[in-house]
Symmetry: C2
Subunit: 141 residues, 2 copies
DNA sequence: TTAAATTGTATCAATAAATGTTACAGAACG
DNA sequence: CGTTCTGTAACATTTATTGATACAATTTAA
């Protein structure tokens, strides 16, 4: 497949919104910064809306803004909003159930995967959107 | 794309080898347990050989065995052997460099990605192949 | 010394997931 | 009431992984 860049794009556009906290930002504008199609942005914004990270308004002069202050949006929330929790995939085809390893390995890997996912979330909870804004600004100077 | 299951398959076949420490195991046999094509297994074994986790021998009565005792193979080594270090993908197309966020976000995400990757490796270093064998055996009983 | 068995590897087809594109209904603003 | 947006459906495109076939090179063993 084409590689999944939803987390990257989500952080990107949420940072844009965070820098424009007082206005509604349009998907066209975000798409130009990300360098992609507006529909791709709108699709992602729908996910982020479900996760209650943004609020969109339809109609003329509509657009999207953050649902919370940047310091209250942790990267872990963004991660949870857009990721499937599959750091690695399990077997594509069910392994041989007549083999002791084949029979049990999937459940073991599944548990391991959840542990890893939790570890990632904990790591990402260390950063907020505010921190990202700080990094963007610092790089500029 | 089809989802990447190399880590899962690698853990699977290394566990098989670990349970058969004293013999050379053939790719055909491993493929039957994993339920895939032997070439897929051989490709993966080549990676694991480069990482010095297994040793293969060509020719009649050839096959593959572990290069180290199961307790000395950490899951983090397996992960490093087969993964690209890309937990999430960066932007597919370069973002707009005239936008402050677009200009800086890639570097920020890249650093973040490396941090996460390190976190995953630390987590996976907590388990060895011996631990996995233990889990397989326990599930059986 | 030859036949059989196996890995290593190249090549290409098949699969599948994500992204990109077009189109348009529906809502809100002015 | 026309214009501007979002939401979403439908489908094409892209691209990484997996699967399959083929065969050279190597090793064993009869």
């Amino acid at each position: 497949m084409a590689a999944n860049s939803q987390f990257s794009i989500a952080v990107h556009i949420l940072t844009m919104l965070a820098k424009n906290c007082d206005e509604r930002v349009k998907s066209d504008y975000l798409a130009k910064s990300v360098n992609t199609n507006p529909v791709v942005i709108r699709r992602l914004l729908c996910n982020l809306q479900e996760a209650k990270l943004v609020v969109s308004q339809v109609g003329a002069s509509g657009g999207t803004s953050l649902a919370k202050a940047p310091e209250n949006i942790k990267l872990s929330e963004i991660y949870k909003a857009v990721s499937s929790g599959e750091i690695f995939s399990l077997h594509r085809k069910t392994p041989n159930q007549d083999c002791p390893v084949g029979k049990n390995i999937e459940a073991i890997l599944c548990r391991l995967q959840k542990e890893i996912d939790k570890t990632i979330e904990e790591k990402l909870a260390e950063y907020s959107l505010r921190d990202i804004i700080g990094m963007v600004v610092q790089s500029k100077g």
